[in-house]
Symmetry: C2
Subunit: 594 residues, 2 copies
């Protein structure tokens, strides 16, 4: 079984649902005609299918190898594939042309990210981290820093990392202890230990640009005293080429459940030379530029693992002969029927398909709003910024929770084979599991949503989202073909609105009510967003059918959408009921009663 | 973090909820006074905590090692622990005294099984498989076979396996190809390949008694032509001691996601000597004795992994300092609060606690009905047999699905630490995952429930269950303290009954409707059963409180039960809504539309 990029799905969403050609007034869309996009995604699909996917199992089996000289060897084939990726310009797709990038819109780039991640998530993290570090330097760095670092990071010649976590601090960055001492020459000396640093050391790129959170001597306690530093592995020489080795090493690799092909490093900084990004004590602000980008990227990874796992399960279900259909043999000449005939196997596959297609649409729709943040129309730009704030935690947590569920169901479709390492189901499940955790665990995303994003600007973002949904519903009410989708969305939105009002009333009164409601609220939001996407997709499919297009892809879309309404959306009521019970019982037990 | 056996929970259920001393009229309960049971479980807890639990991570890391001479070495320490287990009589706890067992009721034995499995699931499978093989020989073997094999299997001197699966057949046993040829001397020659044979080869016991499904030459096609054979690794000599080596070998081990400490073998039989158990072509019937026993055991494993994972997550949540409570610092002297103060962390732990406590009660309540099958009161015995048929698939699938969810949440509580192999969360999740698959994948359990168990004897079992629930509800209606539990159970049962009627009407009309509804129906059944258990537990706790017992354990029970009603039970509505949508949309897409 080989991964096949879902290019037809990408093009359907980009062309028929989002109609991205309508945004040609924005600079990044100028060269993004659908013909160009189709050509890029088709080439991209070839690259990931032929170069990255075959290395996925290799990476899992071999893992990365740390040596006592503090070097890290990536799995066989990773270096050659990375070189091909750099040569093909695939690292630069979404980056600013000012630094050598191709400047494609995020909405196109994210489709490519999905493919890379499905084909080889552990590999894709190397350029993925670089892009996050690029975004942070671009957002917070000086012109000199940008000129020195960004072109080499955009091309992929140099890679990047983000160094936040320390043994005593993960979520709570206020506890950071790594120190930065001014050296008097404009640079700082960085000392401390960072853990779980993805791509912290490897043999793929000529230099590694570490972005490190540290505390300047005398800085305020907590998160207000954290600064961000560029700490390169090799100090750039006068020509901007890798020069003297900096005083930092990878002290070892983490043994972990999955993503073995990515080096998860303990990084030790011992008076390493670093340069401040932006101002002292403002490090978290810049790091969060990177974090938000990274959070969307993790949502994409969750979806991408779900897609790859679904494809593997589907191939197995069509191939494996076992038992007979309940309604009579479907493969009478064979010894048994393919297990796809069994309703409960179908249920798992249809669950996956219905969530993946809407999840992908949601991911692309959100990415489009990322692009629209730069619209010259200020109202459009503000709404887009509002949406990005509101929806980033939903994309991150909802798509990863669902992606993991899909990976687990995909293993289940395989039966016993799925538990063996001869089939890819185990790797997808193990790799996917980290997406629920890193870049802010899903519970932290849920708290960000209810505690910060909902209330920002007096609830402007969520109100604007409700208004958009209401308008869409209003436009299609009475359209017989779309009726179930319109009804489903009305119902979902009503429940989400009820939950939102409940939170506004009860979260202020007792903040634990907000915390207690957060995950169910986020899932209710995710369900509503995916129902919203199904109405948009059903509308697009119906329009093409009405125009005489008989592609069975379109009728399958309508069936899959109805399946979502019948079999996924009913979870909404449970989430609403649960969150409205508040924090009282949840918090009632003293610690010693556990 | 070390696993601690939940002895207090076991004793509460056995004494206060099930009052097992009331069954002293049954032979197996004669020696099962609560004092004796408490002594056994307390000693058992010591054994698993001190001997088995410390080997759990060792087994995961080392795995089993196959050598070219077809031997298998178990992980360091397993052999010594197995010897201690045999010496301590822990293998024999639930077995028939006629064969050297201690004859304890299943309801006690299952508590011990839970502890063994929590402490070291991969290890526990060796004696677990032996017990399944013992049950099959006891049910179907001749007196001579019983005399020859059972005493040695009961003591643990010899171990056992079940050999069903072949590469082309897992669920569909009709496809079995392994051949059995009569040798003319009463024995048969067995030839074929079996895969995924747990404990198929190892260094723990002096002999391994394989129970093998095979097809006698000329037997009917499909499941009607399958016979069961005893095929020992060493042929018993005239004294019943291991003699000549039989012609069967372990050809290799499966690489798998978890349970590395258990040897999952490819078994190759090459004219191996075997003896028929029971009659030719009746093999499946006897094998299903073993399967039903094994299925309950797998449900216990799912629960047990959930319990162990929950304990690890709880210890982490009390220890890890990160962030501050939303309602103000709870550990003001420390750098941060323990993460147990965060409502969403609590949500995951309370979810686990509420499901584990009721799941354990359900497991013990079901095991008690296993004992009651042998009641001299025929009405009681028939009801118990009905329940065992009906509830075995629910115990197996529901407890494993929930157990896996708990393992995943336990990893989530750990944050990034959970994804590393330095903490036990990964192993619990990986080990637990197989429980959803083996002994009949959970989808097969669901189909067994709706396709076979519901309809058996005109629905007698489920009607009898409904009547029992109605009676319990009737007895406690108006009891103010129990009102939420009574209301919850009434509501759950009404939904389960509605689903049952829907299935009766629509499953006959189109069997795919039954298949399409099966998993949601099973989950609705599981939710109802656990709500039922919560009413029983709340009643027992309330009675002790009313009698002046101020143990905070009792008030915590009531809080945890209310949490279940508020936060777990609301899923029932979603299951009902989904299953009533039937098979139409689910089955609508042709295979090529996927």
């Amino acid at each position: 079984m080989t991964y096949r990029a879902p290019t037809r799905e990408h093009l359907f969403v980009l062309r028929d649902v989002l109609n991205i050609e309508a945004y040609a007034n924005l600079p990044s869309f100028a060269d993004a005609s659908m013909d160009t996009v189709e050509a890029i995604l088709t080439e991209g699909a070839k690259f990931v299918e032929e170069v990255l996917a075959p290395l996925n199992a290799v990476g899992d089996k071999e893992g990365c190898v740390w040596s006592a000289d503090n070097t890290v060897k990536t799995p066989t084939g990773f270096k050659a594939a990375y070189d091909q990726m750099v040569e093909g310009g695939w690292v630069a797709l979404g980056s600013d042309p000012a630094f050598g990038g191709q400047g494609l819109p995020a909405v196109v780039n994210v489709a490519m990210s999905e493919m890379i991640s499905s084909a080889n998530m552990a590999f894709g993290m190397y350029p993925g981290l670089t892009h996050g570090a690029y975004e942070a330097i671009r957002a917070g760095g000086s012109d000199a820093q940008k000129a020195l670092y960004l072109p080499k990071m955009v091309s992929g010649e140099w890679s990047g990392t983000m160094n936040l976590t320390e043994p005593q601090c993960g979520t709570d960055l206020g506890l950071i202890r790594t120190k930065a001492a001014p050296a008097g020459d404009g640079s700082y000396r960085i000392s401390g230990q960072k853990i779980w640093i993805s791509a912290g050391e490897h043999d793929l790129s000529k230099n590694i640009v570490h972005l490190v959170l540290a505390r300047v001597e005398g800085a305020p306690q907590g998160v207000k005293g954290i600064s961000l530093f560029i700490v390169p592995k090799f100090l750039p020489d006068a020509n901007g080429e890798p020069g003297e080795r900096n005083s930092l090493v990878c002290g070892g690799l983490e043994e972990k459940m999955g993503i073995h092909g990515n080096a998860t490093c303990v990084m030790v900084y011992d008076e390493a030379k670093g340069w401040l990004v932006g101002e002292e004590n403002q490090g978290l602000r810049t790091m969060f530029v990177m974090m938000n980008e990274a959070r969307l990227g993790v949502g994409v990874q969750g979806l991408a693992q779900g897609e790859a796992a679904y494809q593997a399960a589907l191939a197995f279900a069509k191939d494996r002969l076992q038992g007979r259909s309940l309604t009579g043999p479907k493969n009478p000449e064979g010894p048994a029927d393919p297990i796809l005939v069994h309703p409960d196997v179908r249920r798992m596959l249809m669950d996956a398909k219905a969530v993946l297609e809407a999840g992908r649409c949601f991911m692309l729709w959100t990415a489009l709003h990322g692009d629209l943040q730069h619209s010259p129309d200020e109202a459009q730009a503000q709404k887009a910024r509002d949406y990005m704030g509101l929806l980033t935690p939903v994309v991150k947590a909802y798509l990863t929770d669902r992606g993991f569920k899909i990976c687990s169901d995909a293993m289940q479709v395989h039966g016993g084979s799925g538990f063996t390492e001869h089939f890819p189901a185990s790797q997808y499940l193990r790799d996917c599991r980290i997406t629920l955790i890193y870049e802010g665990a899903n519970g932290v995303q849920a708290l960000d949503l209810v505690g910060r994003k909902l209330a920002a600007n007096g609830g402007r973002a969520v109100m604007s989202y409700f208004a958009e949904v209401d308008q869409l519903v209003g436009e299609h009410e009475g359209d017989a073909g779309l009726q179930p989708f319109v009804d489903g969305l009305k119902h979902a939105k009503a429940q989400l609105q009820e939950a939102t009002y409940w939170l506004m009333q009860n979260g202020l009164q007792n903040p634990d009510n907000a915390g207690a409601a957060s995950t169910d609220y986020l899932h209710l939001f995710g369900l509503t967003a995916l129902t919203h996407m199904w109405l948009l997709m059903a509308k697009a499919a119906q329009a093409r059918i009405a125009a005489g297009d008989h592609d069975p892809f379109l009728s399958a879309k309508l069936v899959t959408g109805r399946y979502f309404l019948e079999r996924i959306l009913p979870d909404a009521g449970g989430h609403l009921a649960k969150l409205k019970t508040g924090a009282e019982t949840l918090m009632a037990l003293p610690a010693e009663a556990f």
